[in-house]
Subunit: 248 residues, 2 copies
């Protein structure tokens, strides 16, 4: 006796560190408070900075921390509940849902999108860029792909691109009677352009919501929205109890 083999399953240091920090965040820090810098924290816990960073990365992934280069690491507020599945409003822009059009161009969609649209992979379609704002911060960046056949009314409009064009595309879309939509959510990492829109570094983890809009038995549009995974909690179904009400 005397020798305890409790160490038979040695927990990685960064994992243990994460637990310790997580508890400290609950008890000793307030939302928005700035933590000591990484070099000092590493010294305090007696680990290399890289190991400390591994723990911080996990906590940031879980939405507990927010790190900004040149500024510091702060305690993050609870994640924002963002309604995604609300079927009452479809293409609304501005207003309560806070989608904001940015611009529109004609572009060849990614192969995966072309497959959903059932269009030729090399044929350009309308591509509308939108941003979603909530609580003052950018939540999501979206690219909406619309084949020309879906919005025949556009042929009469001469704005070639830009914000006016984006609004024109959405206006035409709203005329369609939607039969339904189909959504999927997966993990991704922010492309350079989305990252800029979301005020994050490229590669930041995002929740990619792909929506297929169906009208008259056809896929009339496909939206690919990337939500900041660190700050967003996507909510589906009856939104009667979600945080959206508070933001009103």
């Amino acid at each position: 006796m005397g020798t305890t083999d409790l160490e038979s399953v040695p927990e990685p240091k960064y994992w243990h560190l994460k637990t310790v920090l997580s508890d400290a965040l609950d008890t000793e820090f307030a939302v928005g408070e700035i933590l000591p810098n990484e070099r000092e924290l590493a010294a305090r816990f007696g680990v290399a900075r890289a190991t400390l960073r591994q723990a911080l990365e996990q906590l940031e992934l879980e939405g507990r921390l927010q790190r900004r280069r040149g500024v510091g690491t702060t305690v993050a507020p609870p994640r924002v509940g963002v309604a995604v599945g609300d079927s009452t409003h479809g293409w609304t822009d501005g207003g309560a849902d806070a989608w904001q059009s940015v611009d529109s161009v004609e572009a060849v969609p990614p192969a995966a999108v072309a497959r959903l649209l059932e269009t030729d992979p090399d044929t350009p379609v309308h591509r509308v860029r939108r941003t979603r704002i909530g609580q003052g911060l950018p939540l999501a960046a979206e690219l909406l792909y619309v084949p020309a056949e879906s919005v025949p009314g556009l042929a009469a409009i001469d704005t070639p691109s830009g914000l006016a064009r984006a609004r024109a595309v959405l206006r035409e879309l709203r005329r369609l009677a939607l039969e339904g939509r189909e959504r999927s959510v997966e993990l991704g990492s922010a492309r350079a352009d989305d990252a800029k829109e979301l005020d994050r570094l490229p590669g930041a983890p995002v929740l990619v919501v792909t929506t297929r809009y169906v009208a008259a038995g056809r896929t009339v549009a496909v939206a690919v929205a990337t939500y900041r995974a660190d700050t967003c909690r996507l909510t589906f179904g009856d939104p009667h109890d979600s945080e959206e009400l508070l933001a009103g």
Copy 2:
């Protein structure tokens, strides 16, 4: 003239590396194929192993690669589409949906769950553990929290815990007429127990789906399901076109 300042926005090495590897995966490798090991890849690209690993981590996060200690790095198959929003079946166990009960105990729920259940934070509730299998691999691990008031019929059953108890709880739940449910999806990292169930290391990225089941105006149960973020694409809405049909 002569000096080009194209380097004014120097891309990080690991980011560029990720792009190169991603293209190589598309063109030079087949699903399931084993990549050269990390030390060799690093040498081949002239970077430190840590930098190479940063690129691999991103690709794994995006579901392009699968890494297993002691084995190697393989090219991952496309993500599995997993239906989550299907409201036709609720508590089904086994069968087409492939939920499989593991066991059940009485336990105090996490604070966040207690808040949803509107129960006292210190009062234990039934906790059923289930696993979801698809294409031969574990997709999700779930903890279903059920207050005793929701399943009064259980008082007459004497199995204290285990698989039999889990099935008994589900049987009682199926008697309830569900009014609706409310779901949210967010990014998390696998706790040690879930990680084991999912055949991943602790801290692996997961999609956490929290479901609140409502019957007779009350929250009768809360499920917290953690899906492997690397292999799963969660689908919502009409599942008529999802991959589930192929798996039948």
